[in-house]
Symmetry: C2
Subunit: 383 residues, 2 copies
């Protein structure tokens, strides 16, 4: 995995170059512990083999075509998910050939762009939750002379998008089957609220309901001889439930690859963290001011990480406490005044998805040395 | 102000093209109401004329070289501020000739890059709060054969960076004056905590203290015949205090130009919002699901706006309420079920600075038509 980075200027548009020591990386920068990354990648490969389900890796988290390829080639993912047409375009242009937009696409221009993508030799799947949308998808596919595979999104408890019940699933599936240039692909049933329910009992209750709702819809379709190629859902916090349900056949995990501070709070039934995934993503930051006793200021603020699920955690430094973040600064409590200017520390981001979207590069590190850089290919692709 | 946008693909890497109707803009997108923008730009020009102070416009908010030029040419700003070396590089390459990094620069490689910038014919100013940093700045300027202008940052109550008192200011000013290739430029004294103190009395108390601390330092330097060319500070929430103080001579406002939901909460002594700045920045978003009664889902999530100061407000739609935001979705309460799929609404971002940094473009709109697009030139430049 060697690339040419000569077109980039260090410190202006790239934070590091292969061969540099981690201490020389320009901060703030996202670094990936490649040993932990490999562990997580192969752990999920083993998990899907154990449960006998497919994994359609969710790229909304990392937004990197290079990482998506690793998930398919080494992690045995059957394809990828993303949330936006411009993400799908980015992934298709980078050579990914099996892409689901696990979201509704409603804007006419976006639908037209989506319908063009199969011309690149890419299998394109998309979700829907209403009849006029099915008509619009069909019209665009006919116009472009392509085929779109369409899943009905079912609201299994997340209360966001998706139809309310099995009867509505049947109605929409029937419409998809009847619509020119569309192919019915199955049911999308993602319980977002279950992912971050920290306690096992709460998560189990949400997932029991979600699985019951989903099974009812699958059964109703089967009774009408409509087969679901895909019954998809599941994230890092909930996937063992979907995988063991006998109802779902495709998982859509994303965060397992990097992990974040919030997912570390999700516990299994023994009160331990559920799956054996490791923190692989860190925000490397440098100390830039120590004038106040018991405090150090670092160079990572709100433009370098998202605090929507709380502040980041300081990695393996229990003597330090993450206090406050403004646009370009982070304030750390350092009671023993151990930090000095230009010292580097590693923060575990509170929430990996919106944090990754702030960066253009992942700096892959092994043994304290930069081994590679991966581009955040779909950074800012939210159209 | 006409540019060539033909290198960009609509909906992939640019959200709109000049001449489009606002309803056709690909969402989520930041749109700028150009009438409100012009009002804010000229209002600040009038404010600095009224108070007889300079304005060094803070580009950390908008990160756009095109907007920085408008602030200097039409808004009579004397120069600009930014927070990072890579921002300064971006602005210098775009032709801005008077740039202050209103922050400490400590990393040796970053210092070296900063010391190269005057070779582009740019006046470069930077802040410091410790003696070893002054030595490092001097060494780099000598090596590059350039001059850096250096301000001592004083902690006037923000408890972040900056020296603690006037004696330390004098010590550092003396060191700057003695250091080869450095020029002492004055004092940086920014009270960040005062900007968002909503109540006038709270803000006044913070600013009274800040001004007293700053005046003491200026007076001590004057007593030693050390003159401050610049006594800089002030933001959109506090600037009338600095401007009227007789101590400060350069303001550093940023948010006045766009305004956000949080700044709208800052009140003057009559309980009204302080200065007559208008909301000029909006996040345009499209409705993408309405399956749940009393609720609509829009396509603007955490990757399109920052909620660190709270959720965005729905502009001029009191019937709608901003509820919850996940990575790619926003959930709105719509009790009367008025919203339909593909309807567009305008959100006022909770906090403009980290929101702007998520986007590559501002879509300038007047009379419902896209007039121009401005590039967020320094988006992601946090090195």
């Amino acid at each position: 995995m060697t690339s040419d980075f000569s077109q980039y200027t260090l410190g202006y548009d790239i934070p590091a170059l292969p061969g540099m020591k981690v201490e020389e990386v320009q901060t703030p920068a996202l670094i990936v512990d490649l040993d932990a990354f490999d562990h997580n990648l192969l752990k999920m490969r083993d998990e899907i083999a154990k449960y006998g389900v497919r994994h359609r890796a969710h790229c909304k988290m990392h937004k990197s075509a290079e990482i998506a390829k690793l998930q398919m080639e080494q992690g045995h993912a059957c394809g990828v998910c993303c949330q936006k047409v411009s993400e799908a375009e980015t992934l298709a242009r980078a050579g990914i050939t099996d892409i689901m937009v696990s979201n509704e696409v409603c804007d006419p221009y976006k639908i037209d762009r989506l319908a063009q993508l199969p011309k690149l030799g890419v299998r394109i799947l998309v979700c829907t939750d209403n009849l006029p949308n099915i008509a619009a998808l069909s019209e665009a596919a006919v116009k472009q002379g392509t085929e779109l595979e369409v899943l009905v999104e079912l609201d299994c408890g997340g209360s966001r998008c998706g139809v309310a019940d099995s009867a509505a699933v049947l109605e929409l599936a029937t419409a998809i089957i009847a619509a020119p240039n569309l192919r019915f692909a199955g049911i999308q049933s993602y319980q977002g609220a279950a992912q971050h329910a920290y306690e096992y009992a709460d998560r189990k209750a949400l997932m029991d309901t979600a699985i019951t709702i989903t099974k009812d819809a699958v059964d109703l379709l089967e009774s009408k001889e409509i087969h679901c190629d895909i019954v998809g859902g599941g994230g890092t916090g909930s996937y063992p439930f979907e995988a063991a349900s006998g109802v779902f056949n495709e998982l859509q995990c994303g965060s397992y690859l990097f992990m974040d501070a919030d997912y570390r709070r999700v516990k299994d039934k023994d009160g331990q963290y559920l799956p054996a995934f490791e923190h692989a993503l860190f925000l490397l930051t440098s100390i830039m001011s120590t004038d106040i006793d018991g405090q150090a200021v670092c160079d990572a603020g709100l433009k370098a990480h998202s605090i929507d699920t709380g502040p980041p955690e300081v990695f393996e430094r229990p003597d330090l406490q993450s206090l406050d973040y403004s646009d370009e600064h982070g304030v750390l409590k350092d009671p023993q005044n151990t930090l000095k200017i230009n010292d580097k520390i590693k923060l575990v981001p509170g929430h990996c998805d919106p944090t990754c979207n702030l960066h253009d590069w992942y700096v892959g590190v092994r043994g304290g040395v930069v081994e590679t850089l991966w581009h955040v290919t779909a950074r800012g692709k939210f159209y």
